[in-house]
C-alpha cells in the first residue's frame, strides 16, 4: 500500500513539474485570440514576423541536411567498422560520444575560428551550422545505428550478398539498410529533435535558426514566441512518439 502511495506521489509531483509549464504556455499563448490562427497562416506569419519565418525555414533545412549528412557519414562507417575493423569499434564509439561530454559553450569556443574560415570560404549562411550539428548529434545517432547493426548478422548478410554478385553499394543499400530501417529512423528523428531545439551554437556563431528567432521574438511579441516554442516542443514529442512506436512495431515483426 505504502508503495502504491509513494508511486502515485512521485508520478503526481513529476506530472505537475512537467505539465505545469506547458499548461502555462497554452494559457499565455491563448490570451491573444489572434496568435494560434496566425501560426497556421504561413503567408501572414512570414509577412508579419519575417525573422521568425526565416528561423523556422532555416531550422527545418538544417534538420533535414544534418540528418542526411549524418546518415551518409555514419551508416557506411558503422558498417565498415563492423565488417573490416572490429578492433576499432571502441575507438569510433569513444570518438562519437565525445561531443556529449563537451559543453556547448566549449564547443563554440573551438568552432568559432573554424567558422571564421567557413564564413570566408562558403559564406555565412545559417545552413553552414549543419557541419557543427552533425558533430553534435553523433553520440545519439551512432548509438541508434550501432544498436540496429547489433540486431542483425551484418557480416554474414554482407558476405552472402557479395557471393551473389552484389558490390558494396548494393550491399549497403539493398541488404543492410532495409534491415536497420528503424534504427536509421531513430537516428534521423533524434537528429531532427536535437537540431530543432538547438540554440547555443547558432546564437553564439551569429546564425539564424528557430530557437534564435524565438528568443529574439520573445523581446517584442511574447505570445507568438511562446506559441511557436510550444509547437516546436509538441513536434519533438510527436517525433519521439513515432520513433518509439516504430521501434516497438519492428520488434513485434521480428519475434
Amino acid at each position: 500500500m505504502a508503495r502504491v502511495i509513494f508511486r502515485w506521489t512521485v508520478l503526481t509531483v513529476m506530472g505537475v513539474f512537467f505539465l505545469l509549464p506547458l499548461i502555462a504556455m497554452v494559457e499565455f499563448s491563448t490570451r491573444d485570440p489572434e496568435t494560434w490562427p496566425l501560426l497556421l497562416d504561413w503567408p501572414r506569419l512570414a509577412e508579419e514576423y519575417p525573422a521568425l519565418a526565416e528561423g523556422i525555414l532555416a531550422s527545418l533545412a538544417q534538420a533535414a541536411l544534418t540528418s542526411v549528412l549524418m546518415l551518409v557519414l555514419l551508416v557506411p562507417t558503422a558498417i565498415w567498422v563492423r565488417l573490416r575493423l572490429p578492433r576499432l569499434r571502441r575507438v569510433v564509439e569513444f570518438l562519437c560520444l565525445l561531443p556529449l561530454t563537451i559543453p556547448a559553450i566549449v564547443l563554440v569556443v573551438g568552432l568559432a575560428p573554424v567558422y571564421a574560415w567557413v564564413n570566408y570560404l562558403i559564406g555565412g549562411s545559417s545552413l553552414t551550422l549543419v557541419f557543427a550539428y552533425t558533430i553534435l548529434v553523433l553520440p545519439y545517432a551512432y548509438r541508434a545505428i550501432d544498436t540496429g547493426l547489433s540486431a542483425i548478422d551484418v557480416r554474414t548478410l554482407a558476405e552472402a550478398a557479395r557471393s551473389l554478385g552484389a558490390g558494396w553499394t548494393t550491399v549497403i543499400w539493398r541488404v543492410v539498410l532495409p534491415n536497420i530501417r528503424s534504427a536509421v529512423l531513430s537516428a534521423a528523428f533524434l537528429t531532427v529533435a536535437l537540431v530543432l531545439g538547438e540554440f547555443t551554437i547558432a546564437s553564439l556563431l551569429h546564425r539564424t535558426n528557430l530557437q534564435v528567432a524565438i528568443e529574439f521574438l520573445g523581446k517584442s511579441s511574447a505570445t507568438v514566441s511562446v506559441a511557436v516554442s510550444l509547437t516546436a516542443l509538441l513536434l519533438a514529442f510527436a517525433l519521439l512518439l513515432v520513433l518509439s512506436l516504430a521501434g516497438s512495431s519492428s520488434k513485434e515483426r521480428r519475434s
Partner: protein, 337 residues
C-alpha cells in the same frame, strides 16, 4: 550444366604468427564434391573463404577453370555459397531471396520458382525467413546459391546449426541436388559422418595442411597418417611390434597401411575390426558396454590395455560387465602412431 575444375596452389594464410593455411594444394575435378574435414582451427573454412574471395591469401593462387581468380573480388567470382549461420535476408521473402542474385545478373526470375521447387519449398515462396524453420532456411539459402548457376558451390558447415534428423535429411538432399546439377562443390565440415556420407573425396586437414585426400572408404579404411586414423572414426591405440610388413597386436597379425622400420609401435585399430566372444578360459574382461542402436560398443580390459569392440546390439545380453571374453582382431590394414 557441367562443373569446372578448381585448383588451390600453395595457399598460405597467416594471422599474425598463426598459420591458418600452410602451403595448401588442392585440385577439385569438374562436377566433383570434395569435403574438407578437420578439427576447428585446421584452416578448412579459411581455404573455402579464400576460394570464395571473402578473404585474401597471404600467398598462393586460386584457379577456376584454369583462370587465375586470386585477385578477383567475391562479387565477380560467380560462386554460390551457403553459410553456417542463417544468412537469408530478413526483409525479403523466400522467393525474393532466391531472386536477389538473379536480379543483379538480370537473369530470368522464373528460375527462382524452379530452384525453390528443386529444394522442395515451392509452397513457401511468400514466407519470410522468420516464418521458416532452420532446415527450411538452409534449403532456401541453397536454392539462392544455385539460382545464379554458380561455377562453384561452396558449403560452409551448412548443417551444423540443425538438429540431427534434419541434418541427415538435408545432407542427402544436398548430395542429390549436387549430383543433379553437376556443380563443382567444396563442402566444409567438422562432422566426419557428414563428410564420409556426402563426398566424392574427403580431404582431412590439420594445422593448415592436407593430411590425406582420398575417397571416403579409403580415408576410413586406409588412413594415410595416425592423425587421420584418429580423427576419422574411433580407433583403439594398441601396443604391438612390427615384424616385416605386418604388425602383431594382441596375437593378431595385421597388415600395415605404410611400411615401418620395425620395433615396438602403437597401432590404431578400428572397433569394428575387434570382436569379443564369451570364453570363461580367457583373460580379458568386459568393463562396460554402451548401446548405440543397431550396434553397441563393449569396452574390454586385456592385461594393461583397454580395447573397444563394436558388436551387433543383439549380442549385448551375453556380454555384461565382468564377463570373461576372447578378443580377436580382423586382419585389416592399420596405421601406426
Amino acid at each position: 550444366m557441367t562443373g569446372v575444375a578448381v585448383k588451390l596452389e600453395g595457399l598460405r594464410r597467416t594471422f599474425g604468427t598463426v598459420h591458418a593455411l600452410d602451403d595448401l594444394d588442392l585440385a577439385i575435378e569438374p562436377g566433383e564434391l570434395i569435403a574438407l574435414l578437420g578439427p576447428s582451427g585446421c584452416g578448412k573454412t579459411t581455404a573455402l573463404r579464400i576460394l570464395a574471395g571473402l578473404e585474401d591469401a597471404t600467398a598462393g593462387r586460386v584457379l577456376v577453370d584454369g583462370k587465375d581468380v586470386t585477385r578477383l573480388p567475391a562479387n565477380r567470382r560467380g560462386m554460390g555459397m551457403v553459410f553456417q549461420a542463417y544468412s537469408l535476408f530478413p526483409h525479403l521473402t523466400a522467393a525474393q531471396n532466391v531472386e536477389f542474385g538473379l536480379r543483379l545478373r538480370r537473369g530470368p526470375l522464373t528460375r527462382a520458382a524452379e530452384m525453390l521447387d528443386l529444394v522442395g519449398l515451392s509452397g513457401f515462396a511468400k514466407r519470410y525467413p522468420h516464418q521458416l524453420s532452420g532446415g527450411q532456411q538452409q534449403r532456401v539459402a541453397l536454392a539462392r546459391a544455385l539460382a545464379i548457376e554458380p561455377r562453384v558451390l561452396l558449403l560452409d558447415e551448412p548443417l551444423s546449426a540443425l538438429d540431427a534428423k534434419v541434418r541427415v535429411q538435408l545432407r542427402d538432399e544436398i548430395r542429390r541436388i549436387q549430383t543433379e546439377v553437376g556443380t563443382t562443390t567444396l563442402f566444409v565440415t567438422h562432422d566426419q559422418e557428414e563428410a564420409l556420407a556426402i563426398a566424392d573425396r574427403v580431404g582431412v586437414m590439420r594445422a593448415g595442411r592436407l593430411e590425406q585426400l582420398a575417397t571416403p572408404s579409403e580415408v576410413y579404411l586406409r588412413p594415410a597418417t595416425a592423425f587421420v586414423a584418429d580423427f576419422v572414426g574411433l580407433s583403439n591405440r594398441l601396443s604391438g611390434s612390427v615384424n616385416g610388413d605386418v604388425v602383431e597386436v594382441l596375437g593378431a597379425r595385421l597388415p600395415l597401411v605404410t611400411p615401418h622400420a620395425g620395433g615396438a609401435v602403437t597401432a590404431l585399430v578400428r572397433p569394428e575390426a575387434v570382436d569379443v566372444v564369451p570364453d570363461p578360459e580367457a583373460t580379458a574382461t568386459v568393463l562396460t558396454s554402451s548401446f548405440l542402436g543397431s550396434t553397441s560398443r563393449v569396452t574390454v580390459s586385456v592385461g594393461e590395455q583397454v580395447v573397444v569392440a563394436q558388436v551387433p546390439s543383439g549380442r549385448l545380453p551375453e556380454l555384461p560387465a565382468g564377463t570373461r571374453v576372447r578378443v580377436t582382431i580382423q586382419p585389416v590394414a592399420v596405421a601406426l602412431e
